[in-house]
Symmetry: C2
Subunit: 345 residues, 2 copies
DNA sequence: ATGAAAGCGCTAACAG
DNA sequence: CTGTTAGCGCTTTCAT
């Protein structure tokens, strides 16, 4: 293979200077006389020189890259999140390394394989359910910069985190269903087991019920798993079981999509027969039929904020601790509010 | 900060062996007596030792990671693609590094900043429109392993690539519109400027027209940009311009979503008044209202195949060259075929 | 303003 | 089976 890639020494020789000088012009560190710098620059692009990251990292002990840990990459939700993170990371001069932490029973090696960590990143953005408490404790103990998104830290740990107003957002939308549309039997479809967002949204759902004197009926909640397919089956099952309801609050927008699909196939009209609401306001939400009433969460913003804080942490500055991002009710058609002749909001 | 992370030397000292021995048990290279190995292992997890990637890479000249270059990360399309790539990379024992090549006017540095390249990956998967021909030529010249997806190589370069049957897929679906639904004035909404997939799909569209003796009408094509919003406006504009049509073939599924939305808002029923079809068969396609008729492309499969070939390339084995993945017509409701009482296909 | 040289932490011969 | 040692390519004092 091509082992012939030039090193800093080659450039130095070519420009008739020392490697230290080359390093200086490459990094803009230290003073170099313009003429010398010019020679070096010429040598660099004549040789197509590209510094080796590994050597750089080893010598400088800084990677200049940020790591993002996700449980899996999928769902419309991740696009804006990644966009936000990508953009801000780049603006801050960091590269981004993403890893989806699926099943890794890689038990053969004596050292636990961590694709992303202090050995190859300067800091980590950790999404819900992508590392366990033990690992979090370890990272915290060695004082490695990391920040949680869509997840609050375990009580014992003082780690900055960014979350959104799940409970009040959920409560607002459910109350809208109740107040504006007279719904009384409202289904809630949970996210994946142990998902924190889902738990808070459920609390909001119950709070709304309670505030309006509607008894909580456990048969009206099931698991939607934050994905269309599971949500579709869940509703289908409820229908088959003869459970009656006049509205569905999906745990998120993907869920709502599955719900609408299942309802329609069962001959129920949305929103005339059943009102439907989601959460997140993913990009396609406004283009669905009917356009989805949902809670707008500043997903991209969460990404940007996460990077911002992480970078501050890395620089040794103070982090803000817990950040709670505001959510907002977005009323469209699926709850029964607007007619279909509106333009997208 | 925590500079105290242990090195291989610490472990060696702790286990009373040489660093070479530690290296052996960590990597499973060379023979080590079980007792010794055990001591080393004990030292390793007592010290929480994690090998430094940079040092490893520098010494071994292998990064064990794959790079993925994308123009931007967004759209429902990427989920399955990333899933496929992630899964296969992991199975092959590689880490994955993703970079979205947005605007980088980082012109200040004398060395071109390449977030991903031979300096930090063993090979690259290159998505459409993420690097230019010059860069491709450079990579090819230094014999660096990389593979193109959703993009054919420039004629002068012999680079393996994975593409899908865009033209025949598009032709099939347009012919379905013509044959099964009697459509004659079919709109086509292009993808982003210069997008190769879009160009082939347009050829398929025109071929279908031609095969049925329908004259190509340039006023029936516009730019949808492969995203809901642009597609929405495009259709809106056409409607405003008084252009008549009985079907729309969106360049991809996201486009189709925007199209349906725009039609509904203009009071046109889908599929009764206008038939709509997409391309890609993204996960939500079957859950839309109406369920989307589209061309199923094995997106996840493309990802897996890309990794497979790239790994082969990296190992110095022969790559297969150009791979063309089959596409398949998926008939659902938006073209007018199925009733809405079906269960999702 | 520039150069010399000492590492950074690890792998990979090569000895023994 | 285990230890020694020479780099890997670069950054970074410390001299000059």
């Amino acid at each position: 293979m091509a082992n012939l890639s030039p090193t800093i020494a080659d450039v130095a020789r070519h420009a008739r200077v020392s490697i230290a000088t080359v390093s200086r012009v490459v990094n803009g560190t230290g003073p170099v006389i313009p003429q010398t710098a010019e020679r070096v620059r010429a040598a660099i692009d004549e040789l197509h020189y590209v510094p080796r990251t590994a050597a750089r990292v080893l010598a400088s002990r800084k990677t200049n890259t940020l790591g993002l840990l996700l449980p899996e990459i999928g769902g419309a939700f991740f696009s804006p999140l990644l966009r936000g993170i990508e953009a801000e990371a780049q603006a801050a001069g960091f590269d981004l390394l993403i890893h989806a932490t699926s099943h890794i029973p890689h038990a053969s090696s004596p050292v636990p394989h961590r694709p992303l960590g202090m050995h190859n990143t300067d800091g980590l953005i950790v999404f819900t359910q992508s590392i366990d408490d033990a690992e979090m404790t370890r990272l915290s103990a060695i004082n490695f910069p990391f920040i949680l998104i869509y997840q609050t830290p375990p009580p014992s740990l003082n780690v900055p985190s960014i979350t959104i107003e799940n409970k009040s957002g959920a409560q607002k939308i459910v109350e809208h269903l109740i107040d504006a549309h007279n719904c009384r039997r409202i289904v809630f479809l949970r996210g994946p087991e142990g998902n924190e967002d889902s738990e808070w949204r459920e609390r909001g759902y119950r709070a709304a019920l309670e505030a309006h004197g509607i008894a909580y009926d456990p048969t009206l909640t099931a698991i939607g798993g934050f994905n269309e397919e599971q949500a579709h089956s869940a509703i289908r099952q409820m229908l088959a079981d003869g459970i009656e309801f006049d509205a569905v609050f999906g745990g998120d927008d993907d869920t709502a999509v599955g719900v609408i699909s299942a309802l329609r196939r069962a001959g129920r009209r949305v929103p005339q027969d059943v009102a439907v609401a989601g959460f997140d306001d993913i990009p396609i939400a406004r283009y669905l039929t009917p356009a989805l009433t949902t809670v707008s969460a500043p997903i991209e913003q969460v990404g940007r904020e996460a990077v911002g804080q992480l970078v501050r942490l890395i620089r040794g500055e103070q982090a803000e601790g817990q950040v709670l991002m505001r959510t907002e009710l977005v009323v469209r058609e699926s709850c029964g509010c607007l007619s279909s002749s509106q333009s997208p909001t």
